[in-house]
Symmetry: C2
Subunit: 349 residues, 2 copies
């Protein structure tokens, strides 16, 4: 068993000099704490690597980074493609750095490895912010599964916070399951919308609206302004129909124009109000603890599932059983029993 708890040994194993590892990790951690971009980038690359020897160093780095507690704020931002997320994050990020914050931006996009371009896109999209010495932008790690991308992003947050970034913005692409993942790693979740309660709404996944701590109607400028004001009223009314969130917070609805830099100030004020309230009533800290706990549980469950799904006998048997289950000729419970029996026999030999 290697250090990752995987049962299979890596096929190629480099000579692991454990002193060399220690040296590397501690040097890198010193670099991170000194906010050397090179050290930070290198550490994130190690976190993103799938090589067991890289992961071993990454794990050591993360443990070292965890020893000091930082006061940080993690903001999730979502919205359908075209809502203006990059422009918003660029404008909003600059507002934050101007006020003395150190801001970093991560993107969770499990599709980026396929659609390519979006990786490069991240940096070209936010050209001004990328040149800001108090900002650090890191595109989505490549990863075949949302689970993989999620783990890497969560670990990167720890590194960025150790490097002194006090505000971490995590952007999601607004399609698929990534919103839930991002929601589970942030303190505040902002949903960007477009004016016009019709077509634009259809792109957003069901359930997202219920996660939002605030909804901002973007592109509230020029000819759009009237429609944006209308949308604001509509959303406010709709959100009233939802039950209050468990932190006692009532989601706010605002409008802004990232392009014209208007309405960003009020959004930042709302976020600060949220932080103040939820720190005062203990929700902020409780939520982070609960998030940590569910990362642990999720990671264990994911590992157990992966191990099962990679079992050769399970792989052989699954398609046929699954087909029968779907057609209703075999009960799901019988099929599960057969698969688990085979899996456990493999394991015990």
């Amino acid at each position: 068993m290697n250090e990752n708890g995987n049962r299979k040994s890596p096929s190629k194993k480099k000579k692991p000099t454990s002193s060399g590892r220690l040296y590397n990790s501690e040097e890198l951690v010193a670099g991170i704490r000194g906010n050397t971009i090179a050290a930070l980038s290198k550490a994130i690359t190690l976190v993103e690597s799938t090589k067991p020897e890289h992961q071993a160093i990454a794990n050591r780095i993360i443990e070292l980074c965890l020893t000091e507690k930082q006061k940080t704020l993690r903001i999730g931002i979502t919205g359908v493609p075209g809502v203006g997320k990059s422009t918003f994050i660029e404008s909003f990020g600059k507002l934050l750095t101007k006020r003395g914050n150190k801001v970093s931006v991560l993107t969770v996009d499990p599709t980026s490895s396929k659609t390519k371009g979006s990786i490069l896109g991240d940096k070209t999209r936010m050209q001004e912010l990328v040149q800001d010495p108090n900002a650090f932008i890191r595109p989505s790690p490549s990863g075949d599964s949302l689970g993989g991308v999620t783990r890497k992003t969560r670990e990167s947050i720890i590194l960025l916070e150790a490097a002194g970034y006090n505000i971490i913005i995590i952007e999601t692409v607004g399609v698929g399951q990534s919103e839930t993942a991002v929601h589970s790693m942030v303190d505040f979740f902002l949903l960007l919308k477009l004016s016009g309660a019709g077509d634009e709404l259809q792109g957003i996944k069901r359930g997202i609206m219920e996660m939002a701590d605030a909804v901002a109607i973007n592109k509230a400028d020029g000819e759009n302004l009237k429609a944006a004001k209308l949308a604001e009223v509509e959303f406010r009314r709709a959100l009233q129909l939802f039950p209050p969130k468990e932190n006692g917070w009532t989601p706010k609805v605002m409008r802004c124009s990232a392009l014209e830099h208007t309405g960003l100030e009020p959004i930042w004020e709302v976020i600060q109000e949220f932080v103040e309230t939820s720190k005062a009533n203990g929700y902020f800290e409780r939520n982070r603890q609960e998030q940590n706990r569910s990362w642990l549980i999720q990671h264990i469950e994911q590992s157990l599932k992966n191990d099962f799904n990679q079992d050769p006998k399970v792989k052989t048997m699954l398609p046929d059983l699954e087909q029968k289950v779907m057609l209703g000729t075999l009960s799901p419970f019988n099929a599960a029993r057969q698969l688990l029996a085979v899996y456990r026999r493999t394991e015990n030999t």
Copy 2:
């Protein structure tokens, strides 16, 4: 390993005469197909039993019941306590039997074993329906976990359909996670509401409204009528803000009075319209297939998790590691690695 794929043998093992088992199962299945209530009740009791020898017979019965396909409809009904679910189901159930349907009612209530009373309550609540020869009411199985209750309910559906019940109503208590479970086993999901968009709304869990195929404002009678009409308009407007469901169906909002038997007819018409539309576009069958597939996956994952959580070494180590993870002094990934390493070592010995 026993027939359930569990690694631990039952402590007391009755002499299993496999011919005796076969005899029992086939006799019971014949009884079920002949709609003998005694046989049906006995089979459901076997499904609900935790004894391995009972489960073995139950599994055989289910497989035999799966061989014939029935045209059935599974309706989920939810709403907060006090919304009038039992009265609604009694009135609605009678409307259905009058039209020649055979109706059975199941309740998913994972809390029923603790709160007792609700088990007895089910039958006393629906006194008229319980005497209807074309209706069969079965209270929630006792089970310590939602997963257990869910499995038992899903298996009971198969038995009831084999017995000729063409409409299965599954009621949920409107608290906790049971709505998601019920939603995953039905064709149509009905949310009961009360008039007045204020306080009453707060009892309903976030996300439920997005699952509903129809919302019925109940108790729309007497002094409530005006408020109910208002609520109807409000909900209709709110639901417009949601994106359309993947089946292309737009959720309907109606009002009814289960007590005065008004508005039930239109609800049944809406359900029939839903069935017609979704059978025509293939969604109905696809949804059932997808539900079967996710039962399989869920059941496997649940079994893997249970096995892990019951590991003695995991049990010993977990509380301390979990605490460290929650306080942020240990990374979730490191803790998971430690636990999985211990678990797999146990397994391989």
